[in-house]
Symmetry: C2
Subunit: 226 residues, 2 copies
DNA sequence: CTTTTATGTGACCGCTCGGTCACATTGTAC
DNA sequence: GTACAATGTGACCGAGCGGTCACATAAAAG
């Protein structure tokens, strides 16, 4: 938790510091992220920084909390409708909003990815909390969907919750790498394909099944192979 | 590429240095990995190190190449049978061998994960090469499988190749996090569930389809939710 | 032996790091 | 004005970094 001094600062200055920190943590692994660069970018003295935060870890966790709040703000409209949506509609909405979030805040995405992969004592507790949160959420939704008969009852829900929690990150990465990242039709098509794969799998099947699986765009006009 | 001096070393000593480097790169982000610790662990003088390698990047790329060779050795038996196997059998074998590889060499897994997520100028070229390699492989197999009618012809192959390339990493991670990591029945069951999800999806369907999807273990006896 | 060539060595360089501290500046109370 | 508390500041500390270099050692060549 930041020191009280930080919260006494004008909101404008708090934001400057937060933005500088986010940029730094997005650009460098935690261990290599430099307070020196953060204070330079924020336009404050190093001594001042240590009046606001106890140490680097304190700053990082503050950033993580802020990012989490912003993400929740993105997801809130969807979450409110969660009960009213079918599981796959919910999934689609969550993925789409997830892509939008990272498109609007690429640095947040970079920090999230680092958090998942990096091994640093300062980060371990935060990582466990964040990923457990996501998995519990998916697990609950999955159980409801199974109860409603939307999802087969013979799948390993723990495995599936784990996968869904990570897949949203992969989808974002794919869209950013290939499509460059606009929030557009192409993105919706990719998300649709993604969901369709999850729903009905990739195996060829008799035609009867095929049509039931259609979603927003059946053919995203991706490049064909030579 | 290491300097000639390195290859003049007794194989034993080369191995000592390689192992020390792998341990360091697995335990720390590239930027934070320390030549000082590597030479200490390898039992050589720092000056000697710079007779063997041009710099840190040189050492890291050498490690990556060695790891790639060892992985190929693991996968070779499967790859040789690739044409004879159905796509999903091939996938199952690849995933299983992938898990085995990381179980036998946890440090290699850690380095691979870092490579995918970390952003460092020294690593960018290597990352692009490695991931492109994997995707091209999957893409080729997918096209063959579509031609053989094993896989529906209306999926976005680029997206699917990307996902498969990453999913193998996720499966490994899941198995290591939950099961702790033995190469055992439990692992085979998880891989089977995984493949089954890919084949037939998670959506509930009329019973006819259900049975066609069975694979090694239909019920992996994962814990039930309260 | 001496010379030459290849290899081993650790003190050292310049730099950056996270974090501290003595002091300067500011704002309010009186 | 003075007094006092809160906040701003950057030089500084010890440590660790990647990388260098003058020199020691050793083996082979003459």
């Amino acid at each position: 938790m930041p020191k009280p001094t930080f919260f006494n600062l004008p909101a404008e200055k708090q934001e400057q510091i937060f933005r500088a920190a986010v940029a730094e943590f997005a650009a460098h692994p935690y261990a290599a992220a430099a307070i020196n660069r953060i204070v330079a970018r924020a336009g404050i003295a190093k001594g001042s920084f240590y009046q606001y935060f106890h140490d680097k870890k304190d700053l990082f966790l503050y950033c993580l909390q802020r990012i989490g709040e912003e993400k929740m703000a993105y997801l809130a409209p969807v979450l409110q409708r969660a009960q009213a949506l079918s599981f796959f509609d919910l999934l689609q909405e969550l993925f789409v909003q997830g892509v939008r979030f990272v498109q609007d805040h690429p640095a947040y995405g970079a920090i999230g990815r680092r958090l998942v992969v990096e091994r640093h004592p300062d980060l371990d507790a935060a990582l466990r909390e964040v990923s457990a949160q996501g998995e519990v959420f998916y697990r609950d939704r999955l159980e409801q969907a199974v109860a409603r008969g939307e999802i087969r009852d013979d799948v390993d829900l723990a495995l599936l919750a784990f996968l869904l929690n990570r897949l949203s990150g992969l989808l974002v990465e794919y869209h950013l790498e290939r499509a460059g990242g606009a929030y557009d039709e192409q993105m919706l098509a990719t998300a649709g394909q993604f969901i369709r794969l999850l729903r009905t799998g990739m195996e060829a099947r008799p035609d009867a099944e095929r049509r039931a699986a259609s979603y927003p765009s059946p053919h995203p006009s991706q490049g064909e192979a030579p």
